[in-house]
Structure formats: C-alpha cells, structure tokens
C-alpha cells in the first residue's frame, strides 16, 4: 500500500489544452476561413482595382498607374456598352422566366403522383452536370446543320417548305442570327438555373402550414386570392433569394456565351464577363479587362446586400 499523498498546498492547477480555451480555439477555427477570403477574394480584388488603374498587359504586367483612363476607354467602346446592356437583359429576362417556370414546376411537384421521384430527379439533373458540358450539349442542339430542333420543326412542317411558318430555308441557324442567338443564350441560362430555383421554391411552398391555406379556403378566398394574398407573400423572401442567386450566377457567367457564340454574331451576344475575357486575356490588355470586370462589382454588391437581408428575414418568420 502506498502511503497517503502529502496534501498539496494548492489544488492541482490544470491548464487545459488549446481546446479548452474558447477564445483561442475560436480564433484558430476561424483562421482558415479568413485566410481563404483574404487570399482568394481580397487579394485578387485589390489586384483587379490596381490593374484597372494601370496600363498593364499580359506581356508587361508591371504596374504603372494611369488614372481612370481604362474606365473612360471602356465606356466609349460601343461593344462594351452592348455587353453591359446584354448582361442586364440576359440576366433579368432569364431569371424572370426561371421564377415563373420554377413556381409552376414546384406546384406540380407538391402534388403526389406516380413516378414523382423520377420527375424530380430529371428536373434536378441539369444542376448536377458541369455547365461547360451542358452548354456543349446545347451547342449541338443549336448546330447550324444538324440541329435536332430544326429536325423537329421540319418534321412538323414548320420549316423548309415554301409555305412553312418559319420560312423555306432548311435550318434556323440558331447561333448565326442575332435575335435567335440572344434567345438561345437566354434559354440555356434558364435551363441551367431552373433546377436550383425549383428546389428552392419547393422548399418555400412546402414550408407554408396546410392550416393557413385551409383557413383561407374556409374564409372564402378563391384559388387566385389564396395565391396572391397568402402563398406569394409568404414565399416572397425565399423566392427573392432564388431570384438573386440566379442573378449572381447568370450575371457573372462566362461559359454559356463563350461556348455557344463567343459573343457573336458580330458581338450581339457579348456580355461583361466574356468581353472581359476577350479583352483582358485573349487580347492581352489586362488593364482594360480589369476595368471592364469591375463594372460588375456595384451590381453584385447590391445583390449580396439584398440576399443577406432576406436571409435574415426568413430566419425571423
């Protein structure tokens, strides 16, 4: 038997490891996130601002500040102005269509029916495919000679005969005619965001308590009134989030335009991100590219603020 230990004058002081000190631990755990934001978002952003104020090129990326020359030059360029307009038009049009279609889809998916899981799966599928691959698929759909869309139109007698609705030519040349090219780009953007928006809308709709809808029914509200007065107001925050997410994705997207049209025909489908790429990387004018891309910043900043606000509002309700 060991003799009883000599009583200590002070209780054994246990200094816990780092995991016991909450403030140190907190700093440690948040550090990777801070590092990531500084290195991958903060630094490139500062660099972009500096480049936009310089005359750097891919051949000579040294910084010689030249003031706002790049911005004024961009604004005077008609292609830039077209790209700016296109970016807004493509984004707002495609996302408005997305909101309407996703609401219809979500409503349909709320009802129980056979094979529902299959339909859900198929709707979500585009979201899981890489954008570039999906867009290449669309490139084939829009092919100037072998387009399956044109096949179908010819088969239906809407194309390729003297009396056909869409004209006597055998092909539509989807990506070769300015109006059609714009519509094609918008359609692909709709196709791309629709799955996400549908899932978000589905979540929003199924979060409305059944009681509320039934109460409105008993209170005498017609289906229209129930939609306008109950369903839409209650899902507005989450629908807005779906809309703003779509806006961010579409507003900054390069792939769809780059793969489908490269901005053509004659720059009519050019958007800010594609124009940035062509100017800054392919033409080598880093400074111009940086200036063009910075025009996206105010819009995205405003959208981000809205998303944060809405996210807080949905938390409260």
């Amino acid at each position: 038997m060991t003799p009883p230990a000599r009583p200590d004058s002070s209780p054994p002081s246990y200094r816990g490891g780092v995991f016991d000190r909450q403030d140190t631990l907190a700093k440690l755990l948040i550090a990777p996130a801070v590092l990531y934001i500084v290195a991958m978002i903060g630094a490139p952003f500062v660099l972009a601002v500096l480049y936009s104020l310089s005359n750097a090129t891919t051949g000579d990326p040294s910084l010689h500040l030249v003031g706002l020359r790049n911005f004024t030059a961009a604004l005077e360029d008609p292609v830039f102005r077209l790209a700016l307009r296109n970016t807004f038009v493509f984004t707002l049009l495609s996302q408005s269509i997305v909101i309407i279609l996703s609401r219809i889809l979500a409503n349909a998916l709320l009802k129980p029916f056979r094979g529902k899981w299959l339909v859900r799966f198929l709707i979500l599928l585009p979201w899981t495919a890489p954008i570039s691959l999906g867009t290449i698929g669309w490139l084939w759909m829009y092919d100037s000679i072998f387009s399956p869309i044109d096949w179908v139109l010819r088969y239906l007698g809407m194309l390729g005969t003297a009396t056909a609705l869409l004209g006597p030519q055998t092909n539509m040349y989807w990506l070769g005619v300015p109006g059609l090219a714009i519509a094609s780009v918008i359609l692909v953007n709709v196709w791309r965001i629709l799955p996400l928006a549908t899932v978000i809308q589905l979540g929003g709709l199924s979060s409305i308590p059944r009681d509320l809808i039934e109460a409105a029914e008993v209170d005498g509200a017609s289906p229209w009134r129930r939609t306008l007065m109950i369903t839409i107001p209650l899902t507005l925050p989450i629908v807005s989030i779906a809309f703003l997410f779509g806006v961010v994705f579409t507003f900054t997207d390069l792939v769809v335009v780059y793969v489908l049209t490269r901005g053509g025909p004659v720059q009519t489908t050019q958007v800010l991100s594609s124009w940035t790429f062509f100017k800054g990387i392919e033409a080598g004018d880093l400074a111009q590219g940086a200036a063009i891309s910075l025009f996206m910043f105010p819009v995205l900043a405003v959208v981000a603020i809205f998303i944060l606000r809405l996210a807080r509002r949905t938390e409260v309700v």
Binding site: A215, V218, D219, S222
Partner: protein, 345 residues
C-alpha cells in the same frame, strides 16, 4: 338558419375508415360537441363539414341545401383551427378583414365589422399588431373574431382551447359559452377533453373508431351511457364495471355512488359489497379509494370517490362494507358492451 345534417357519411383514408357511417343533425343555435379520443374521426368529420375534406360517401346538408360538392367558400361556415392558422404576414386587422374582403365587402363596411368583432373579443388595441407579437390567448381571440366577423350560419371549432394554459382555458371556456349564447350561431366543437365537452355542450356526440357511440345531453351521457366505451371514456375516474357471476352482464356504477354503506340510502334499496381497500389518494376536495370487491379469486377492481367532507378514517389493507343505491346501477351486455334497459336485479 344554421342546421347541419350529416347523412350516412364515411371517410376512408386508404383502407382505414376514419369516419364510419355517421348520421347526425344539429338543432338551430345549438352548441354540439364532438368528443372522443384522438384518432376517433371527430376532426375529420369537422373538416368534412367545412369542406376541406371530401367524404367517401354520404351527404352534408346545411340549411336544407346539399353542400357535399361545394367548396368551403360556398358553404357559409366559419372555422377556428387548433393552431388558429392566423396569417402571419398580416396585421390583426387584416386577418379579421380577410373573410370580408374575400367576399368583396366594401371597405367602409369592413372597417365597421372588424371593429365590431374586435370589440366583442376585446382585442381592439391589438389591431395593428402581427400574430407573432400576440400571446396564446390573444391569438385565440383573433381567430374567433376572424371566424365570427362574417356572421356565418355554422361555426366550427377544432380544439380551440388546447393550446392555452390550464388557467386561461377555464376562463376561455366560460367566455366562449357566453359568447355563443349571445350570438346564437350553431356551433360544432371538437375536443378530446371531457370536461370541456360537459361544460360547453348542449349535446355531446361521443365518437370512437369513426363511429358515433352516443348522442345526448351531458347529463344523459354521464348518467345513462349507451355502452361501456362511453361509460369509461366520460367521467374521471371512469365508471366502475363489475363482472357478474352466472350472468353475461356487466354492472356499472360511478365512483361517487360507491360509498361506505352507512352513507348510502336508496328508496329502491342498496347493494352492499365488502370493499378491500388497496390504495388511497387524498385530492383535497375529494378522496379516491382504490380496491377490490367480492371474492379474491375474481379480483374485481373498483374505485370510490368520496367527498372531502366525509372524514371517515380508511386504511389500505382493510375491508369495509361499501354500497351502491340500486337506482345508480347500470347494466351492460358483456359481449356487445351496449347498455341494457330496465331495472337492475
């Protein structure tokens, strides 16, 4: 105005019959309570009257008009949901105004009626608030006001008091009863709480497994239960049921009628049992005495409820002579559970 007839209504969910051939009719201005354990079909029946559930068979007639195929908004009924179902994005004013605006009532009339309904339920000062800023009791009043504002011919209530705390529930019950008397609208009220049912109902409909077991005044239900289900579901503690030797009959009597034999008197005589006390509960106003009667081999468990004023000393483990007056005895068929008419023994 306000007569609801239910003709042979059934509702199936898959293979389950939630409501099974129910026939029922309310009187005008009556307060009718649907009482039963959860899953007995009472809420489904109410929802079918409202029109938010479609019956598998049978018909609903409100004021002489078959409404079975009409949507809820064409039935002129109002309903208060268990959750109250207040529209969370609307103020109290807009909540109450909703049924009126849905009917295209002009704004001047809407204002007058909303203020009338709010005054009736004393919620005038809450009109600018949102539901989430209200207490449970206030929400319940708003739900009632929203239901009443359109002056419906039938008023449906689905356990409207179950979300209130016990103290509030008692006062809300009393208010609800007085209010219903004042406006005189036919009311159908669903609850699983027999105290609510007894206190509120002009008549009570006891339901179990989708079927109506008994329809009657609270007194009829309590005093003359139609079967052993009603006898044991209504009353707390439930009616004692004693098996009889040599007879396929169950003898029923309420715990408060089973007393020490000295305290029992009956013009038609009494039945006395040796009562072996096993357990006592002192509840202040009353004492509950649990024990067995008759020979041990039969082990027949009964409860006696003694008023607090009866201070007779009783001890567990001892046997006392207890008795029931013959007029308080009820007889039930052992197989079917149905009450047998006629006098006892």
């Amino acid at each position: 105005m306000g007569r609801v007839e239910i003709r042979s209504v059934s509702k199936k969910f898959g293979e389950v019959r939630a409501v099974d051939h129910v026939d029922l009719a309310t009187n005008e201005g009556e307060f009718l309570v649907l009482l039963g354990p959860s899953g007995c079909g009472k809420t489904t029946l109410l929802r079918m009257i409202a029109g938010i559930e479609i019956p598998t068979e049978g018909d609903f007639i409100i004021d002489g008009r078959v409404v079975t195929d009409l949507p809820p908004r064409m039935r002129n009924i109002a309903m208060v949901f268990q959750s109250y179902a207040l529209y969370p994005h609307m103020t109290v004013y807009k909540n109450i105004a909703f049924p009126l605006r849905a009917r295209g009532v002009d704004e001047g009339t809407v204002r007058k009626k909303v203020e009338w309904a709010a005054g009736m339920f004393k919620i005038g000062r809450l009109l600018d608030r949102k539901p989430r800023e209200l207490s449970g009791g206030e929400r319940q009043r708003v739900a009632l006001a929203r239901a009443m504002v359109r002056e419906p011919s039938v008023f449906l209530l689905d356990e409207p008091l179950s979300n209130l705390d016990a103290l509030l529930r008692t006062s809300a019950r009393e208010e609800l009863r007085q209010f219903q008397r004042r406006v005189g609208v036919t009311t159908i009220y669903v609850t699983h709480d027999q105290v609510e049912a007894m206190g509120l109902g002009d008549r009570i409909v006891v339901m179990s497994q989708g079927k109506v077991r008994q329809v009657g005044t609270p007194m009829e239900i309590y005093q003359h239960p139609a079967d052993t289900f009603v006898a044991t579901f209504v009353g707390s503690p439930p009616m004692n049921l004693l098996e009889q030797e040599h007879e396929d009959v169950l003898l029923g009597f309420r715990p408060e009628t089973f007393m020490p034999s000295d305290a029992v008197e009956g013009s038609e005589g009494v039945v006395t049992y040796p009562f072996e006390v096993t357990y006592l509960e002192y509840l202040g106003a009353e004492r509950l005495v649990y024990g067995n009667v008759g020979e041990k081999s039969h082990g027949r468990h009964v409860v006696s409820r003694l008023p607090g004023s009866l201070t007779l000393p009783l001890e567990a483990g001892k046997t006392y002579p207890f008795a029931v007056a013959r007029r308080d005895l009820r007889r039930f068929d052992k197989k079917s559970g149905l009450a047998r008419p006629g006098s006892v023994v």
